[in-house]
């Protein structure tokens, strides 16, 4: 815990930016209604400190918390052509894209990075639900392919954090074709004998669940995440009956044999390190403060462990 960021900075903020009053500094937990101070919430990885509800977290914030000392390098994603179908509903697709870019500060709905976690080199990709509901279009497909190619080239495991409302309808059939495309990406990693780990976060639905998000060597989900092919509303309309409590939530899927684990976001990093190191035939990670990577003492510590 950092005294300056937790106490002094908010104080300064409140003194200097009166226009940024409560609504920006406080978030109401949608589950239990507790008002959470933004910095406290960020330190807790956007998990409610009162009820443990897992709120959405941006790929960048997730990677900062995931990679050692918050350092990672972005993997370049080949740019697809914009608006391949010249799609127009009530708005033009490029306008929707621009609005999403402005709201998130990101280029698209997936971020790919390489770096180390617990001194274990990995490639990771995370989907951004805030960007057009994390929907999968050509860019997300390209991102997964780039991530897989990078993992294969560097002989590293690939970790994917999924979050999506499904396919990017504005890319029509081309968004549907991301199901086979991303499946090829997964097969590249598996064919190279490298672990492919999926972390399903709230919500992961539709074509994303029915492709790369369900093909992991190990399938982990965050607590209470909605994970499904067809959404609960569509099912209720089809079968005309009420669905059971917790239906299609992470714990329900775990009970039905569809997942390996349900893991709290705060324990996720340690768990990923443990699993990946075993699958990669590496010795256990050294816990605690590490000397900077590459220094002779750190090599020795790893060799001993």
């Amino acid at each position: 815990m950092n005294w300056i960021s937790n106490y002094v900075r908010p104080k300064i903020n409140s003194l200097f930016s009166r226009r940024e009053v409560p609504e920006n500094l406080w978030t109401k937990c949608p589950e239990c209604g507790t008002m959470l101070f933004h910095r406290e919430l960020a330190d807790n990885l956007n998990v409610c400190t009162n009820c443990d509800h897992h709120m959405a977290i941006s790929p960048r914030a997730r990677f900062t918390a995931l990679f050692d000392t918050g350092i990672f390098t972005e993997v370049k994603v080949p740019e697809p052509i914009t608006d391949p179908l010249h799609f127009r509903d009530q708005k033009r697709y490029p306008e929707r894209l621009k609005a999403a870019q402005k709201a998130t500060g990101e280029k698209e709905a997936m971020l790919v990075a390489e770096g180390e976690i617990g001194r274990t080199p990995v490639v990771a990709a995370a989907q951004d639900f805030a960007f057009m509901a994390g929907s999968m279009g050509m860019y997300v497909g390209n991102a997964l392919i780039a991530a897989a190619e990078r993992a294969v080239k560097l002989k590293r495991p690939l970790i994917v954090f999924s979050a999506a409302g499904g396919a990017r309808m504005q890319e029509g059939i081309l968004s549907l074709m991301q199901m086979p495309r991303t499946t090829v990406a997964v097969q590249m990693v598996k064919d190279a004998g490298l672990p492919y780990i999926v972390v399903l976060t709230h919500p992961t639905t539709g074509g994303v669940t029915a492709s790369y998000a369900m093909l992991g060597d190990v399938q982990i989900a965050e607590p209470n995440a909605l994970i499904c092919f067809a959404g609960p509303r569509v099912i209720e309309q089809t079968i005309r009956e009420k669905l059971p409590e917790g239906f299609q939530r992470a714990e329900y899927l775990l009970d039905h044999g569809m997942l390996d684990r349900v893991t709290h976001r705060k324990q996720l990093r340690d768990e990923l390190i443990v699993i990946i190191r075993m699958l990669m035939n590496q010795p256990p990670a050294v816990k605690g403060d590490l000397p900077p990577p590459g220094s002779p003492s750190s090599e020795a510590a790893e060799a001993k462990a």
């Binding site: 179908l85 396919a167 029915a210 092919f229």
Partner: protein
């Protein structure tokens, strides 16, 4: 004959011609043939006019036409010694998916397809062509069988989509579809697909991730139904015409986008007006596509298939 909403004027003319002829049969002294023939001519011209430039939404209606030949009709018409193989060895046999061993021009193959049913009883039996996880897992099993014995796989696509049900979700609908797509991409035998009616989203992809993909002239293949898309993006399911237009779900657009390899022509007025001709045309296309792939090594087939999908979409509509 079942007429679609937009075919109503045609139904009137054809109805009149039929009435006239019935009258003529009842009253031998009446000469109706000349007038009836004129009506036939008028009907022909109208049919041509209606079908010469079908809108995407009308294509959706034609693709879903109840009298259109279904998977079973193609299997009966094009394959011999069809031997259905049932079950996923895990939970059940899904009747929405037909599959088994068969001969195509005497060559042993594995054929797999969605079957919608042709009357109320068979439609319910077939769950309207909406597969559950068992259907995809049966297909996976059959693709493995084909792979083990070097048999080409032919898939026939005709589904509104995977079944959105409670049990289907509990038993892993997403996982089953994902694994079926993965299996399509992994088998070392020729895999060809024909979209014969509706290619509904992930439920279609699970069988259609093939070396060669053909579509019937008025079939559709889409990420979501126009009704579903309209209710999400227009907040109004009645805007399905606009959605059908925007989604680019016709065979013609898909060929321009490089998603499919060939279009199979339908008889004038759609497959429902000439089921036999349609089945034969599909047979010719299957024959050609199988020939294109014959003699290729397993590794080459897998590589080609994966590359085909990796390259897909790089050009957009402009190309």
């Amino acid at each position: 004959m079942n007429y679609l909403e937009f075919e109503k004027p045609l139904a009137e003319i054809e109805g009149k011609a039929e009435e006239l002829r019935a009258l003529g049969r009842a009253n031998k002294e009446m000469d109706v043939e000349k007038e009836a023939a004129a009506l036939d001519k008028k009907a022909d011209a109208l049919l041509k006019d209606l079908y010469k430039d079908l809108s995407p939404w009308r294509k959706c209606l034609v693709a879903r036409h109840p009298d259109r030949p279904h998977c079973k009709d193609y299997i009966d018409g094009l394959f011999t010694e069809f031997t259905p193989l049932a079950g996923d060895r895990n939970f059940a046999d899904d009747h929405a998916v037909m599959g088994g061993l068969a001969r195509f021009n005497d060559q042993a193959v594995v054929v797999i397809g969605h079957e919608k049913g042709s009357d109320t009883k068979t439609r319910i039996e077939r769950n309207f062509g909406m597969a559950r996880p068992e259907g995809y897992r049966k297909a996976i099993r059959l693709m493995d069988l084909a792979d083990r014995f070097g048999l080409p796989v032919v898939t026939l696509i005709d589904t509104p989509g995977a079944y959105p049900g409670k049990g289907a979700e509990e038993r892993g609908q997403s996982e089953a579809i994902a694994q079926s797509t993965a299996k399509c991409l992994a088998i070392g035998v020729p895999l060809i697909s024909v979209v014969i009616g509706e290619g509904g989203s992930g439920g279609a992809v699970a069988f259609a991730t093939a070396n060669r993909i053909a579509m019937l002239e008025h079939s559709i293949y889409s990420v979501i139904s126009p009704e579903g898309c309209a209710s999400i993006l227009w907040k109004d399911a009645e805007k399905m015409r606009e959605a059908a237009e925007a989604l680019r779900l016709t065979a013609q657009d898909l060929q321009k986008l490089g998603v499919i390899d060939r279009i199979i022509k339908e008889p004038m007025g759609g497959a429902q007006r000439g089921p036999k001709e349609t089945v034969e045309a599909v047979g010719k296309a299957i024959e050609t596509m199988l020939k294109e792939l014959s003699g290729k090594k397993p590794e080459a087939l897998v590589k080609d298939r994966r590359q085909k999908f990796l390259d897909m979409g790089s050009k957009g509509l402009a190309a």
